[in-house]
């Protein structure tokens, strides 16, 4: 089902082309442009919803989601240590998985729309909420709360990185301009959302497959982590969604957010804050394994999970 959605097909095209060593290459600036558009689109959607229904209840929900972003990496860290990962590497890995992948979120949006399943429109807000805390947790896990850490530079890195600025910026623009103000922007950010996402996934397919080269080096433990962690996290996310009284679509989306692993904001931040962590390890896991896994298998599964939970609880 998920497999025949054209955006997933674009991903598979890129993936296959890369595996077959095709010369297909998208210009780097196209990839950058697409990710800017996706981040702004998601921010704008969330902001328009805030304009309609900002409330204390929503703030409470956001805090609960934030707590999930802190707790998941803390729980995963000791497990990774047991499996023999070095301290810095384990910390970096859990930071990636505690945060979120905007691309995965976008695919879930497209998937639910294609399935005719609606969800709470303010969910993009949670993308913003989940982006940063896991990075902080990761750094503390790697270094302890030492005086050495240049917290000022770190805060800068965290809150002024490209993706967070675009998400929050889009959110604010959507909030201030409101539904009518944003209307003229829709042809780019909403009507073209799905085909642009398709192009983005074409490039992601190329990149994801190119990460597989390093898979051999890291072996089975990494593959296990990169597929089991999203599954476990998705259950946590789904249960949190239930606890927050969300709709079936909302539960599926929160499960997806929990299950997804960052490959934009976190790698950049960890590279500067915990340079002794091997960046290729985390990228191989999040981009090479978890991203394809979520897009092709995970998202449909998380929707079924949400439906099952709604029917049985």
């Amino acid at each position: 089902m998920g497999l025949s959605d054209p955006v997933v097909l674009f991903f598979l095209l890129g993936f296959a082309a890369s595996l077959m060593k095709s010369e297909l290459k998208l210009p780097a600036s196209l990839y950058e442009t697409l990710s800017i558009l996706l981040l702004l689109a998601i921010g704008l959607k969330g902001g328009v919803e805030l304009a309609k229904q900002a409330s204390w209840a929503l703030l409470g929900q956001s805090l609960a989601v934030l707590a999930m972003g802190v707790i998941l990496p803390i729980l995963a860290f000791p497990l990774l240590r047991v499996f023999g990962f070095a301290r810095a590497d384990a910390a970096s890995l859990v930071a990636h998985y505690g945060s979120v992948s905007v691309g995965t979120f976008a695919v879930a949006v497209a998937f639910l729309a294609a399935q005719g399943v609606s969800f709470e429109e303010y969910l993009p807000l949670f993308v913003v909420v989940l982006e940063v805390p896991a990075i902080l947790v990761g750094i503390v896990l790697a270094k302890g709360i030492s005086r050495d850490t240049d917290w000022k530079a770190l805060g800068h890195e965290l809150f002024l990185g490209k993706s967070i600025v675009l998400l929050i910026g889009g959110l604010l623009i959507g909030w201030i301009a409101g539904p009518t103000g944003v209307k003229p922007l829709e042809p780019l950010f909403f009507t073209l959302f799905k085909p642009l996402l398709g192009l983005f996934l074409l490039e992601m397919g190329l990149i994801a497959a190119s990460q597989l080269g390093s898979l051999k080096r890291y072996g089975v433990p990494l593959v296990v982590f990169a597929t089991v962690m999203p599954l476990v996290s998705s259950v946590v996310g789904a249960l949190l969604g239930l606890a927050l009284n969300m709709s079936v679509g909302g539960v599926a989306m929160l499960a997806t957010l929990a299950a997804s692993a960052s490959y934009i904001a976190v790698p950049a931040a960890m590279r500067m804050a915990v340079p002794e962590a091997n960046p290729s390890l985390s990228l191989t896991a999040s981009l090479g394994i978890t991203f394809p896994f979520n897009i092709v298998i995970g998202i449909p599964l998380y929707l079924q999970l949400a439906q099952w939970l709604a029917a049985n609880l």
Binding site: K25, A28, Y31, E32, E203, S210, S214, I264, A268, P275
Partner: protein, 100 residues
């Protein structure tokens, strides 16, 4: 015009370091520098510049031999352990002795 010998220090490293290196160069008193984008392969594997910061930069600093050495030492201490980085020195002739 008459020429003067100076040292050209070339650094090839991860693109993510650009801002940090600029701060360091300013602190160490480099008279100027030039950066261009690059890709490549080395001890830390392929860096193909296909997306985002998964590429290299190529940084050139023309200065006196002593400063070049100081900068190279600084880079060694701060970055060699954890980042993809290569440095080398060469001798060049400049025309304005006071500029470099």
């Amino acid at each position: 015009m008459q020429t003067h010998q100076r040292t050209l220090l070339t650094v090839i490293c991860e693109a993510v370091l650009e801002h940090k290196l600029e701060q360091a160069l300013e602190k160490l008193g480099a008279p100027g520098w030039t950066i261009s984008d690059a890709r490549g392969r080395g001890g830390r594997g392929v860096r193909s510049a296909g997306w985002d910061t998964e590429g290299n930069i190529r940084l050139e600093i023309i200065c006196n031999r002593e400063l070049a050495q100081t900068i190279a030492d600084y880079l060694h201490e701060n970055f060699y352990a954890n980042f993809a980085m290569v440095c080398y020195l060469s001798t060049v002739e400049v025309f304005r002795a006071d500029k470099f």
